[in-house]
Symmetry: C2
Subunit: 172 residues, 2 copies
Amino acid sequence: MTTRWLTPDEQRAWRAYIAASHLLEDAIDRQLQQEAGMPHLYYSILAHLSEAPERRLRMTDLAERTKITRSRLTYAVTRLEKDGAVRREGCPSDRRGSIAVLTDAGTALLERTAPGHVETVRATLFDHLTPEQVRQLEEMFTGVARGLQGGSPGSVPPEELPWRRRSSGPCA
Amino acid sequence: MTTRWLTPDEQRAWRAYIAASHLLEDAIDRQLQQEAGMPHLYYSILAHLSEAPERRLRMTDLAERTKITRSRLTYAVTRLEKDGAVRREGCPSDRRGSIAVLTDAGTALLERTAPGHVETVRATLFDHLTPEQVRQLEEMFTGVARGLQGGSPGSVPPEELPWRRRSSGPCA
DNA sequence: TAGGTTTGTTTCAAACTTGAACCAAGGCCA
DNA sequence: TGGCCTTGGTTCAAGTTTGAAACAAACCTA
């Protein structure tokens, strides 16, 4: 089949998306670097931990939720551990595993910096969207994410699809 | 003022957006790394050059269009130059300036790899969107980008807004 | 239960990004 | 003209990301 090129509408949408998402990530990274001393990704790691039961998650679980690779997470957690925001514990039920735990200092940092972060997200993104667009945004990107995770990254044949990691739970 | 926290709708939209945009960038980076031997950003640089008159642009101009910092661009162009996809030329009218020029090899690489790239963008993004959503996407992100570029990065006061770089033109 | 495979995580080197500092060259103006 | 501020680009060190390889524990299965 010959290439299905993008239509002019799609072209424009793609460009706008790429431009805005770069600018947005940069703005948020800068703000968090200033206020929290860490890039957005690291902040997200803390945020995800803070919502988990007992503020702890298996590394792989955390990697999945934050949508990053394991090695990237290892590096990040090591840094956050140095900062004192996270602590690592071994997993008693599976001695291969290690668990990242949000410390009290990490919790405090999150509470201190969350308002500024939210304000930035608002100012950069949501202040430009109507409530209807917010709903659209969620719908679109939920679909896109579903298409991408746990399978068919691009054009991988469906044979490889039925792969799904078992949810490892709080490991306890 | 107390923090304007995100509404549940906004929360969900934000999470979906973050997750999908990470997955999307990863997928596209992987595909281009495979097929073109370079990450998406580098490919974009070539793409932008290919559309410029005479396939050449001032560094700063190129940085603006690709939405990246100058130092990042310097690094990228140096690499692309080593690959032979880009050549640097001095700017005759302003001896501070340097111009990135897309070489024939760069053009060939672009032509060879564009179909695969477009196919990936389609499979990962546009195949999940209705034509109406495509229009919405463009509208939303155009607004967001406008809000972010050339001013008010987050919560910078309007005093700093009226900054606008003069479009330097093809320089020649 | 030994051997082979899978799974969870880390490690390592190479590539990339960041932000501040630097170096020209251009512009402005007394 | 001589300073002085601005602009266009690069450089440098420190930090981050990548992908492949290494490990170790868990899980088969014969």
